[in-house]
Symmetry: C2
Subunit: 294 residues, 2 copies
C-alpha cells in the first residue's frame, strides 16, 4: 500500500527537510535548522502534526545510528562528533510523539531505497549509492534491501592510495587521509584554498577528485560486485566529473572484470541519481511506506 499521506524527514547535520507526501509526491515541505535535538525535533513534529491522517513517518538520518532491531537503543544516534545529538532516540521520539508507525535508516541507506523504488536503480538486485558532498557516504543494497550488517557500512572511511604529489594531509578527524578526508567537498576547498565555485575552471582539481573517486569505486566494485553505482551529492554537480570518474574507473579496473557490465565505457554502470539532491527526502518517503506496511 503506497496510498495516503506519509511524513518524511531527511535529518541532516545542518538542516532537517521535513515533508508531507501523498503517495510519493511531496505536497508540503519545510526546512528546519539542526540545533539541539529538543528544538529541532519539536519543530519537526509540530510541522507534521498540522496534518491529520498521516499513516506513518520515515526518517533518513545522519549517523552513525543504532540499527540493530534487537537493541534497546534502536533508532538512536550513537557516537558522533555532533555531541548534542549523541544518544538521541530520533525514531522513538518522533514516532511516539506522532503516535504512528515509523522507520529509520542512515541517510545514504534511505537514499538508496528511494533510488531503488523510483530512481536510477529501479529493479536491480545489488547496487551501491554513493554521495559526495560535505561528507562521503554510501549505501549498499543487496537482494532487495539496504544492507546494514553489524552497525552499518561507513564506506567514506576506507583507506586510500594517495595520488603521487598530493601533499594535502586530509581532514577526517579519525583517519586523516581516508576517502572522505581526501575527497569530500570541504577537503577540495581546503586543499586548494578556495571555494568550489572558484575552482570550477581548474581541470587539475577535478582530475584529482575523479582519480580518488574512481579508486574508491574500484574498491566498492571488487568488494561488493554491485550491478550499478549511483553516484551523487553536491560535488558531483560539477560538469564533466561523472564522465571523468567513469573513464578513470575503467583504467583502474584494467580489464580485470568478472562481468560484462564492467567493460567500458561504464555509462550504464556509474550513473547519476534520478532524484539528485532530493534522494534523501524521497528515501524517507519510501521508508515511511515500509513502516506503514510492516
Amino acid at each position: 500500500m503506497s496510498e495516503g499521506l506519509f511524513g518524511a524527514i531527511e535529518a541532516g547535520g545542518t538542516k532537517f527537510r521535513v515533508a508531507i507526501a501523498r503517495g510519493r509526491d511531496v505536497i508540503a515541505d519545510t526546512t528546519i535548522p539542526t540545533r539541539t535535538p529538543h528544538e529541532t525535533l519539536t519543530a519537526t513534529i509540530e510541522f507534521l502534526r498540522t496534518w491529520e491522517d498521516i499513516r506513518s513517518v520515515g526518517i533518513a538520518c545522519f549517523g552513525p545510528l543504532d540499527l540493530d532491531p534487537a537493541s534497546p537503543s534502536y533508532g538512536s544516534i550513537t557516537s558522533t562528533p555532533k555531541r548534542l545529538w549523541e544518544g538521541t532516540p530520533v525514531l522513538a521520539w518522533v514516532r511516539d510523539a506522532l503516535g504512528i508507525p515509523g522507520a529509520i535508516d542512515i541517510d545514504v541507506g534511505g537514499a538508496a531505497l528511494g533510488e531503488w523504488r523510483w530512481g536510477a536503480a529501479r529493479g536491480l538486485d545489488h547496487f551501491v549509492y554513493v554521495t559526495v558532498g560535505t561528507g562521503i557516504g554510501a549505501g549498499l543494497f543487496i537482494d532487495g534491501a539496504v544492507h546494514h550488517g553489524t552497525g552499518h557500512p561507513e564506506m567514506g572511511h576506507i583507506a586510500m592510495e594517495r595520488v603521487a604529489g598530493d601533499k594535502y594531509p586530509g581532514r577526517c578527524p579519525f583517519h586523516g587521509a581516508c576517502l572522505e578526508g581526501l575527497a569530500s567537498g570541504p577537503a577540495i576547498e581546503e586543499r586548494w584554498g578556495m571555494s568550489a565555485g572558484q575552482l570550477s575552471d581548474r581541470p587539475e582539481v577535478w582530475e584529482l577528485e575523479a582519480t580518488y573517486l574512481a579508486r574508491a569505486l574500484r574498491t566498492f566494485t571488487y568488494v561488493a560486485a554491485p550491478q550499478r553505482v549511483v553516484l551523487g551529492g553536491g560535488v558531483m554537480q560539477h560538469g564533466g566529473l561523472l564522465d571523468l570518474v567513469r573513464m578513470k574507473l575503467e583504467e583502474q579496473l584494467a580489464g580485470y572484470v568478472t562481468s560484462e557490465t564492467l567493460r567500458g565505457p561504464l555509462e550504464e554502470y556509474v550513473v547519476a541519481p534520478a532524484h539528485g539532491q532530493d534522494a534523501g527526502l524521497i528515501g524517507a518517503i519510501a521508508l515511511a511506506m515500509e513502516a506503514a506496511n510492516a
Copy 2:
C-alpha cells in the same frame, strides 16, 4: 538432508583435491595436478566414479567463474591467465559425466560456506572469509548465502595505500600494487628475495604484511560491515601474524566504529578458520549438500 555420500572437488590452480564424504566426513580423497582440463577433469571423474550412490557433487573452483544462473555458460571459467582453462564448463562437464546434481562456487565462496556451516562463522548472518596464500581472495557472506552480485567479488584486487618506504612494485599482472600484488605469498618472497621459510625470523617482514592486511580488513569492514572476518590461507600460518593484524586493524579503525564488536582487542572479530587448509574442500562438501537439496 546431509546424509549419504557426496563428491567434493577443490579445484585449484596447481592441484585438484577430490574427495568422497559421508555426511561431512571425508572417507577417501586424492590429489590430481592441474594440467589440461581434459586430463584433470577426466582423472577427477574417474576417481569419483569408483564410488556408487554419490548423491551429488560440489565444486569450489578457482576463477573467475560465470555464476549467473541465467547464463548459458553458468559454471564455466571465464577470462583467466590460465589460458588452457578459459571457457571450460567445469560444472556441466563434471555433473553430466556423473549424471548427478552439482553445485559450483568460487573457491573462497565455497570456503566461506563451509566455515558458516561447520566452522568459525557458524550461525552468523554476515561475514567475510579471506585467504592469503598464492593469491588473495575473499568470500562475502550475507543473510545466509554467499553474495555474488554481478560476477563475484574480487577483493584481492582493491587499490592499496602503500606503506611509506616500501618500494616493491607489486606483482599483479593487472593492477601491479593491489592487495594481492603487494601482500600475497609470492609478493612477500619476491619483495624480500627469499623464501617465506627464510623470512620467518625477520619481524619487519611480518610487520609490513600485517599493515597491508589490516588496511584491507579496514576496507572490508567499512564497506560490508561484517560481524566477523575469518582470515586464513598459507601466509597466515606464520606465528603471531593474526594477532599483529588484529592490533593494526584496531589502530586503523581509530575508534570510528558503528558496533561494539569493533572495539578492541578484536579477538572475536578477526579469527582463524576452523578448517584451515581444508576450508575449500569442506566448502565443496557443503556445496554438494546444497545441490542434493536443491
